[in-house]
Symmetry: D2
Subunit: 341 residues, 4 copies
Amino acid sequence: MISFESDYTNGAHPAILNRFLETNDELLSTYGNDIYSERAKEKIKAACKCPQADVHFLTGGTQTNSIVISTMLADYEAVVAANTGHISAHEAGAIEYTGHKVLTVGQEQGKIKHHELEKYLDNFYSDENHEHMVFPGMVYISHPTEYGTLYSKAELENLSAVCNKYEIPLYMDGARLGYGLMSHDTDVTLADIAKYCDVFYIGGTKVGALCGEAVVFTKNNTPKHFMTMIKQHGALLAKGRLIGVQFDTLFTDDLYFDISRHAIDMAEELKKVLVEKGCRFFIDSPTNQQFVILEDEKLDKLREEVKVSFWEKYDENHTVVRFATSWSTRIEDIEKLRELL
Amino acid sequence: MISFESDYTNGAHPAILNRFLETNDELLSTYGNDIYSERAKEKIKAACKCPQADVHFLTGGTQTNSIVISTMLADYEAVVAANTGHISAHEAGAIEYTGHKVLTVGQEQGKIKHHELEKYLDNFYSDENHEHMVFPGMVYISHPTEYGTLYSKAELENLSAVCNKYEIPLYMDGARLGYGLMSHDTDVTLADIAKYCDVFYIGGTKVGALCGEAVVFTKNNTPKHFMTMIKQHGALLAKGRLIGVQFDTLFTDDLYFDISRHAIDMAEELKKVLVEKGCRFFIDSPTNQQFVILEDEKLDKLREEVKVSFWEKYDENHTVVRFATSWSTRIEDIEKLRELL
Amino acid sequence: MISFESDYTNGAHPAILNRFLETNDELLSTYGNDIYSERAKEKIKAACKCPQADVHFLTGGTQTNSIVISTMLADYEAVVAANTGHISAHEAGAIEYTGHKVLTVGQEQGKIKHHELEKYLDNFYSDENHEHMVFPGMVYISHPTEYGTLYSKAELENLSAVCNKYEIPLYMDGARLGYGLMSHDTDVTLADIAKYCDVFYIGGTKVGALCGEAVVFTKNNTPKHFMTMIKQHGALLAKGRLIGVQFDTLFTDDLYFDISRHAIDMAEELKKVLVEKGCRFFIDSPTNQQFVILEDEKLDKLREEVKVSFWEKYDENHTVVRFATSWSTRIEDIEKLRELL
Amino acid sequence: MISFESDYTNGAHPAILNRFLETNDELLSTYGNDIYSERAKEKIKAACKCPQADVHFLTGGTQTNSIVISTMLADYEAVVAANTGHISAHEAGAIEYTGHKVLTVGQEQGKIKHHELEKYLDNFYSDENHEHMVFPGMVYISHPTEYGTLYSKAELENLSAVCNKYEIPLYMDGARLGYGLMSHDTDVTLADIAKYCDVFYIGGTKVGALCGEAVVFTKNNTPKHFMTMIKQHGALLAKGRLIGVQFDTLFTDDLYFDISRHAIDMAEELKKVLVEKGCRFFIDSPTNQQFVILEDEKLDKLREEVKVSFWEKYDENHTVVRFATSWSTRIEDIEKLRELL
């Protein structure tokens, strides 16, 4: 059995486990004040080319979205997201649980278009009765998106300009950021993201860590007493070293980027195989998630030997499935897939 | 420098790290459906002698308190705790953030007395205006308490009887449960806890794990769609193996109990040293936390070579400090302390 | 200046003010336990032909939606509404403030179609990952809708059947219920609403009262300790007589129905004038709100003598405006409008 | 039967009902933008001698506390109150429902002592671990207190100084403010309150209105988009005239003060009767609420002809009861009481 089911069925990158072993006997400060968390923060700031950045570590994606959004919004504000955005659809109402609405705008291939956003915000403020409505107070984008697609640098710049015009922060969910940065089809660097986004997170869980996401505030805009609010949300780890050691390892000697590139290289190989075998793509994704439309009978047969993710029904006889590569995908698995398709 | 600062400045028990290494290459189900989480649950149920128990894994103590309390309470209910209870004082308003009040009752050495509780509940229901007040909907106790003290079996039975009379659940915060169970001065077993408590958690973070607490519902009383609410609170780990592997290891061959016993043995040695050196105890603790009143000058000198925790000012010239042992405390450190005191 | 601006720029129906005067010197029980609140409840139950109904009085529409929805939903549940529903768009995030998402489905003329709803619910439960999403736990409809349209008896029956199939309550926002019940184009009675809805409210604020809405639970399904939760939401009036006297008056000798019929009769006269003057209707409304597309220049001129509500821009040169009649609209005003148009 | 049960079993002051009648036919702006609300605000600002004051109208006391406290606090902040404070004990968890803890400090006769408050705040900030605790972000006092007692001008000045030192607002709950201002034993004016408090409310419900409280922000410190948040809390009245007309009436020709003085005069007469009859006072109250310890048998007999409020059990054979006068208390009732005692 081979698996392209997801990028988080695997364990941690071996370098991380080794680092746990090496540092295990040290007695360290708690709650994120340990030396490894400190070092990881410095390395991330350097990688972002953003000296004024303020970095915080959290455990997972939904937690990060929930805390960043609820602590940056005023009570009268909501977050604007694509209707396909993770926070709109697949987070169990976690944002609303904090008291904030998710306002949705249309999207193309998972991406918010800046003119759509501008029109939305214009309409809001030109409505005489807008004081009876919740205010758009932040824009949420994901990069890569839920469909594996990427914003271009120009698109980020444009979105940022609209957000600046309305004085609301632009927030990027980077659960799979490494795979976005290492895509063969991107002109966006980590420094660009730090420049155009007011806050974003660098995903660890899906890029080599056992858990952990690094939130980066880029504009001296960390919410006051952010640590207290992390605790209030039940998200402050007693042993902060758990995430500190992981990110310190990932951001040493470019490991985060190298393992992400590997996943992208594997995804390109995978694409070749899928094209070669005449598979129809549901969407053109430049990252580690590939969405393919398969005939149901063929899918049933394939699943006897290959794990993939159900995405949605395409029509009566076809299904969209997702193939995901990761830092741990092996070229042999792709060869094997070629034989099976 | 030696340290008795806390029981979570250390890393993980080595057996846990080894288990991470051994299982790292396996591709496992996500969100807690992996084989190690399943095995850990079975082992915990067996250890509790409670076949109908339902076990869930969460990351830390505040998170666990927040989720268990808010999902078991109705909107019109509050949790009753000792005024010294962790949730009353030191969790950054995490319970109130979920919309629920913490009602406080008096305590002795950190423990709620069952007749105090009964009087409190009687008074509430005999107040003609109680419908204008928030209802007591759950009782929270910690074991060991914030002062290291323990409930006796009879005390738990009595508290449970009061809770049953008023039909509200008894919840035990077991952040340091192992140290309580292995105390030389307890008649309470894990099975007793499963019998008298409606829900409790077995602490991992402070007893050998890098993170993780095991919530045990004992009376077929898991809140409906508990997993969805865990996600809603931002607490569902994508890689559930992170905690599953740790608890599977801790509950294999009694590791959890053995390492807890070691901490207790060390605490008993520590007590001997403290007594021998004429230290005054602030409270008589039978577990791994020892509270001692030190003259300030002496404390300053000691701190040049020994890390301990500030607890509170005792009087103008004296301070209460906490010495904590753990599964990783070495007898050499205690010998060293003897020399230094 | 004449006004068709809205149905709540006027004061109270004179019979209500008289009743305040008559009862003012009586010392009455507080918090809704007064004799007038009790009588009003009995009269409403009789009018609904629903002896088991449980009636509660609240102050306004948003408050009522917020309390009914949040107290009937479990934490893991959201309310399903049309994307044009008042709670989706115009209540300042009041539902989300209570921690619950508003899920939206498509609509036709403000109404949810039962097969759309069924498809939505089917899709939810057939999604393998639905435990990662918030559960649809209630259906919200408004009657009349935000566009003045009405459900037919058959449509209500069908919606109710879908809700029953999925075991979720059907909730009707009746802010303008009187105007719906007295429409010339409806086959729906108050008894039908009590039969098909699990909970609904009878609007007072827009139908003759100074304030006040009557919530009716029809299936012995009042949330436990509902009064305590009303207080918790800051919505329990100390002088419950304020609303009790008003609803007692409105439901004595069919006053509520008579004044609603007057508004409908006036709306029919208004429609005749609008048709006669060649106005184009934006939507075909059988109730007291009429939506008309006016050429902007004409509108500007009209507004010098007539107050109407801006609804939305239709195109570059046209605007949709709302004319609303009410129990206090006079035939002379309509005659005057005829002259001005 | 005569009644001293409470100050809100009566209706509205007749001048208010007359004003409703006089203004009923006017078509007015909605949501608090009507001319009467505007006038009432100006009159209140003048009465407070505080030109920069910003006045908002809400419906009741719990609602006002909930909205003012939750909109002025940051997420990481709690409100500090006396443990006898209304928000601590008798508001059904309404403050916690908004996500904020009520921190309690000791009191004397319902009042917070400034040195107690200062010690509390000093202790908080000197605790090394205070970032793990919720921050004290506002001080809540009631005037008159729940025991009818009053702060002196010097006491308010001192409390204000402590609040200024810690840069947190001082908030006064004035549910019965009129009775406090007209007490024979006070040196505090409305202007003093506007000077020393950052925000307070002038109670209407218990002082002649059918409903309504006037919130006064005194330091250009109204929370941003306060109206939107009022709506979000379900507290924005469509017909703002309901409260506007009432406060416009109460603050015309000193009506609010005159009717409050009447209640105080009646309370002084009542006190004389109680003293004359040898009643023991539970507390020395200078306002309209008098707390008396009665022998149970005597109380039972009295209650056959006089309504009073149960306050609490004093001992096995005695009960504390409350006698309340109001603007509507008649001297004949007090004469009658003299005969009955």
